[in-house]
Symmetry: C2
Subunit: 336 residues, 2 copies
């Protein structure tokens, strides 16, 4: 026996994972990491009983994965998960963030060195989780993924999959590329998932909003596919106006998004296969929508620097109305 | 025989009327004027054959009117109407204004002293008709009327009926109260219709937009009754934001609308029986909506004075999209 550092090899050396919210996003990435030999613990919510009995199915052009009930590490209660090296948060980005309570139950003794990675959309996400994450490393991952949950513990991955990774810092300043980011990127790439490393997580989040803010919101308000919005000059002008306000909000926080990014975003959309946005899917299923993460928080972030975003504010208020009705929070009136 | 002015008495002395567009508005006012002893000629469009055979029915809390086929002066072609003292225009305020061509066919020889009164909603209405009205008197009447067409040549008047009358001047400047306004007001009052005389037609049009701009547009975009919009703080804030932009647009044209007018408009709405706005009815029946008259023209009027209305511009672009889809002017795409 030597007194040097322990060396291990094989699966034991691989980082273990917990996936909080094993839906279209968490189910897909968790299944790929499992396939790559990581020990991945999945926290289910409504689908727990089904997952326990039938396992998890992820269909994908990269190869289908079926984790049977014998191999799937499925949990229904966050207190039952063991400490893991990495926790991937993939619940909806609602307000209050449902992941905050779940993480509070999971981040007990033995998790002091756990890295928390939130894969949630929008702005102000890390800020909502930071109090429970404490001194642990907190990363944000922006998923460019086309994946749907088509049944209980049943995910259909259609296309894409890249994760843009950045590290959160307490002041919101750029943290550069850090060792935990490198380590996570290595795991993801080992599982066949492309990764981009971002110096500046806040800038990356604003940049993703260039697409998410106009297309998610207007697809709901106008019952439209992204490509339909680009087919009429007035609607295209509205998409452009929202993109310009995202740029203005980013600039208010000291982040520059070049005009070309907006143009590229429109051009790519025009050539994508028509599909319903995630907010539209939530709306159509009368699920709560990520209105605050995608529209409300950017407005408030800009307002904190004295920048008014009137187009997004109009859209925000409209979405609040639609969301309130979907969630039964409006009085019902009958017309005369 | 004397050489003094001719004196006549009885029905012959009463002004004759033509009603262009005998729907919910024109049918109601025309029927009341007929009841009051005026000779009223009704120009029908799609309902002509029905009106010729069955007459015109106007139900009203003021008393039902049924003008049978023998008494109803119904026309299907604008060239067939005789010259009248007054032409009431009550078609939809679309772009191009459908009344312009109809008036061009009607205002031939013998109509040099005809007064044209447009009862259409919105802004920029007189400007669209002025070229065909020429040197004749052109009045604008804003109808505060709750009336629906419930079948062919069948109108149901529910409540209200006041007409705010003003005179158009070529520069848009206030014209004061003029003799043609007084004469029309006397006829209308004689028919039981309350009239308000407005020094300044443009100011009156802006003031009416305080209600029409927010409630018509948002009732369509959010599939809502006016009272539902007032039930949620975010939607109420949006209504207030549109009202504030109407005030800003009016101010750009030198017209002052006091803040109290906006507050009063909300308060009255809260206490009205819930009903669908006229734009919502048009939308639900897939008819063209008065988007330009109620939203587009005010935006352009303000822009001509360098004033930007971003909330109304957002709403305008959304309505253009909805209208284009209703009218089959969008390509159809199927989601993946």
């Amino acid at each position: 026996m030597t007194s040097g550092p322990e060396t291990t090899s094989g699966p034991e050396t691989k980082q273990s994972y917990a996936v909080v919210g094993a839906g279209a996003v968490g189910g897909f990435y968790g299944a790929r990491l499992t396939e790559a030999g990581h020990r991945v613990h999945f926290l289910f919510r409504g689908d727990f009983a089904h997952a326990k009995q039938e396992g998890l199915v992820v269909e994908s052009p990269l190869g289908d994965v079926h984790l049977g009930p014998g191999e799937l590490l499925a949990y229904g209660d966050p207190r039952d998960l063991p400490p893991c090296d990495v926790v991937l948060v993939a619940t909806k980005a609602l307000v209050p963030n449902p992941a905050a309570d779940l993480l509070a139950s999971m981040l007990g003794p033995g998790t002091e060195h756990t890295t928390v990675v939130t894969l949630q959309n929008g702005l102000g996400i890390e800020e909502a989780l930071a109090p429970v994450v404490g001194s642990r490393t907190l990363l944000g991952g922006l998923c460019f993924l086309c994946s749907n949950k088509i049944g209980p513990a049943h995910v259909r991955h259609l296309d894409y999959g890249l994760i843009s990774l950045g590290q959160h810092g307490p002041t919101g300043a750029a943290q550069g590329v850090t060792p935990p980011m490198e380590q996570l990127a290595a795991d993801l790439r080992g599982a066949g998932i492309p990764v981009a490393l971002e110096d500046d997580l806040v800038a990356a989040r604003w940049k993703k909003l260039i697409w998410n803010a106009p297309f998610n919101s207007l697809s709901v308000l106008l019952d439209a596919l992204p490509q339909e919005l680009l087919a009429l000059p007035e609607a295209r002008a509205l998409v452009a106006a929202v993109m310009a306000e995202v740029q203005a909000g980013a600039a208010a926080q000291g982040r520059h998004i070049p005009d070309a990014a907006a143009q590229t975003s429109m051009d790519l959309t025009r050539h994508m296969a028509p599909y319903r946005t995630s907010m539209k899917l939530d709306h159509d299923h009368r699920r709560p929508m990520e209105v605050e993460a995608i529209i409300g928080n950017p407005i408030r972030a800009a307002a904190a620097h004295g920048v008014d975003l009137p187009v997004m504010t109009t859209i925000y208020r409209q979405l609040c109305f639609v969301d309130a009705r979907n969630q039964g929070r409006l009085p019902t009136l009958d017309p005369a």
